[in-house]
């Protein structure tokens, strides 16, 4: 059974679509990346999971219990880091965190809070209003992790953090998952998603267009190949009929830079007909795959002239 289940979740704001028919689940110990550009519906999904918004239809279950809007369903077991973390400015970070930990129960998080502050190198006794943006984000991280939750909902957890602290946060996410927590990680930083997440969902205009392991999403992207031919060899033209989906990025005397999708088998078989000097391949990043994914989806949409051409979600 999934720790976090989202089933056919739909949220409309009047006539504007927030998310539509979103379905996915997260298991215990899994870090799930939730990707999409601004306005694609990530925060709407997260707020429906947290019961901060009432879905138009569909349901969310956390630890087996159906989420009812405004009823704080299982919130004692959820660590939440909102996209915009704002605290009372006049009180110290310690007081604010203590209050939030005590809400709905006793403050058992004191030791963990101290440990997290040390790892993140943060002085908790300064007023929140005096903290820099990065330090406020550290407070947000402590807020999400301090009560050792079984479910973590993290909306852009590393925004505004320097690379060293970012690494600490990624370590915290990994450790939480190893301890059995289910983590939903919404982020624009695809490099961090590819490092910590096993699976990811891609949102586009409120619809979940893909849920797949990171490796598969990367594989679906465009791969690059540079081929240097033996001196004096004419650079061949690509037979579009035999190699569909292969395109030339750059062509110079003796060198061909190609982009292809899927496996490289057909491309290599074609290239080996010619006297090749050397070949270089580049590792496709999740970021490239994500951008290409969006381009493909956009092209499909434009071709059909309708949003409904977006691929249906799979979980």
């Amino acid at each position: 059974m999934s720790v976090l289940e989202v089933k056919s979740l739909t949220k409309w704001y009047g006539s504007a679509r927030g998310v539509e028919d979103v379905t996915f689940g997260i298991e215990s110990g899994e870090v799930f990346g939730y990707l999409g550009p601004n306005g694609s519906g990530k925060t709407t999904t997260i707020r429906c999971i947290m019961g901060l918004l009432k879905p138009t239809s569909g349901e969310v279950r956390v630890l087996g219990q159906r989420v009812a809007a405004g009823r704080a369903t299982q919130h004692a077991h959820i660590g939440y880091l909102p996209g915009e973390f704002r605290l009372w400015r006049r009180i110290s970070a310690r007081s604010a965190l203590r209050l939030l930990a005590r809400l709905g129960g006793s403050d058992l998080a004191k030791r963990r809070r101290k440990e997290l502050a040390e790892r993140l190198d943060l002085d908790l006794d300064r007023p929140v209003g005096d903290l820099s943006k990065g330090n406020r984000q550290k407070v947000a991280v402590i807020y999400a992790f301090q009560h050792q939750p079984e479910v973590l909902i993290l909306d852009e957890p590393t925004i505004g953090l320097d690379p060293l602290v970012r690494q600490v946060v990624l370590d915290l996410i990994r450790e939480a998952a190893e301890a059995g927590a289910a983590v939903l990680l919404s982020s624009h930083d695809l490099s961090e998603v590819s490092v910590v997440c096993g699976r990811a969902g891609i949102l586009r205009q409120g619809r979940l267009v893909e849920v797949a392991p990171i490796a598969r999403i990367v594989q679906q992207g465009e791969h690059r190949l540079k081929v240097w031919f033996v001196e004096g060899t004419m650079v061949p033209h690509i037979p579009a009929d035999r190699l569909p989906g292969v395109r030339v990025i750059q062509q110079k005397p003796g060198m061909l830079h190609l982009a292809y999708q899927g496996t490289c088998d057909a491309v290599l078989k074609w290239i080996t007909q010619f006297p090749v000097d050397r070949i270089a391949t580049q590792q496709t990043s999740l970021e490239e795959a994500f951008i290409q994914y969006y381009k493909q989806q956009h092209n499909l949409t434009v071709k059909d002239g309708d949003d409904s051409t977006a691929k249906g979600c799979s979980s």
């Binding site: 707020r47 704080a72 919130h75």
Partner: protein, 275 residues
């Protein structure tokens, strides 16, 4: 796995909000307390009363109506002491608290972004609303009690030459506390309905100001007297308080309080907050 589905009442939030509003409450309570002493200091001396009444006679008659109307006469000590309860500054301070607290604790927290954090903990929306309601209603009642204690202190400090009916002032204070709490409940309703704090404050202030001026005009202009029953201020003070508990008035104010507070709670729970 077994998990408790109903969160405990968030006493930590109640305590935190109480400590936040305490300085404002303390300041308002101090001014109201001192106002009673100042007013009693003026009205305990017949010469000062005559000067005060002569001064009021120079002003438009509506001002005198606001402070007690025709009951303000030399010798009517109770009516003169009650100026401290009806004074526009005292009413303004009560209304400032009634409007300021619920809008700060509900729409104010939403605008600041801290409501999202509160609601991400095991705290329901209804519990947040109840916390704001408790602090508003208890705070309003406490202000009225402070006002009564100011009158008690002032009557001990000054010699009026006749016994002061403190029982009447106590009944008046409780009746006034209900009026103030009803005003607080209307502000809670406004805070639950409107998206922005300014809108909520504007709506609550407009409701109270219109009520106040309609009541004043109805008191001052005999042709408009029929309007008085439509205002909240009709249900406080008056001759009924002199002889006993004004139960009718108190029932009307309690009904207004309950309707406003409960409908505000239902709306707050059901609507999506603009987080």
């Amino acid at each position: 796995m077994s998990y408790r589905s109903r969160p405990l009442f968030p006493f930590a939030l109640l305590r935190f909000s109480f400590l936040r509003i305490l300085p404002m409450w303390g300041g308002i309570a101090l001014v109201i307390f001192l106002m009673q002493i100042v007013i009693c200091g003026i009205v305990h001396d017949n010469q000062s009363v005559r000067t005060l009444l002569s001064f009021l006679d120079l002003l438009p008659s509506i001002v005198k109506s606001a402070l007690g109307g025709q009951t303000l006469q030399v010798g009517n000590i109770s009516a003169l002491i009650a100026i401290g309860h009806n004074h526009p500054l005292v009413l303004f301070l009560h209304m400032f608290f009634a409007v300021g607290v619920p809008t700060a604790l509900l729409t104010g927290e939403v605008e600041k972004g801290t409501m999202e954090l509160i609601l991400s903990r095991p705290v329901t929306k209804t519990q947040v609303y109840v916390c704001a309601g408790i602090l508003t209603l208890v705070g309003m009642f406490a202000l009225v009690i402070v006002m009564f204690l100011g009158t008690v202190a002032a009557t001990s400090l000054y010699d009026f030459g006749e016994p002061i009916p403190l029982g009447m002032f106590f009944r008046n204070a409780i009746n006034g506390g209900l009026l103030a709490s009803a005003a607080g409940a209307v502000s809670l309703l406004a805070a639950a309905v409107f998206r922005g704090r300014n809108m909520a404050v504007g709506a609550a202030v407009a409701f109270l100001v219109i009520n106040y001026f309609v009541s004043l005009i109805a008191e001052w202009w005999p042709h408009m007297r029929f309007l008085k029953v439509l205002t909240l201020f009709n249900y406080v003070g008056g001759p009924k308080v002199i002889t006993g508990w004004p139960l009718g008035n108190m029932c009307v104010l309690t009904v207004v309080l309950l309707i406003a507070a409960i409908s505000g709670g239902i709306i707050w729970q059901r609507r999506d907050l603009p987080l």
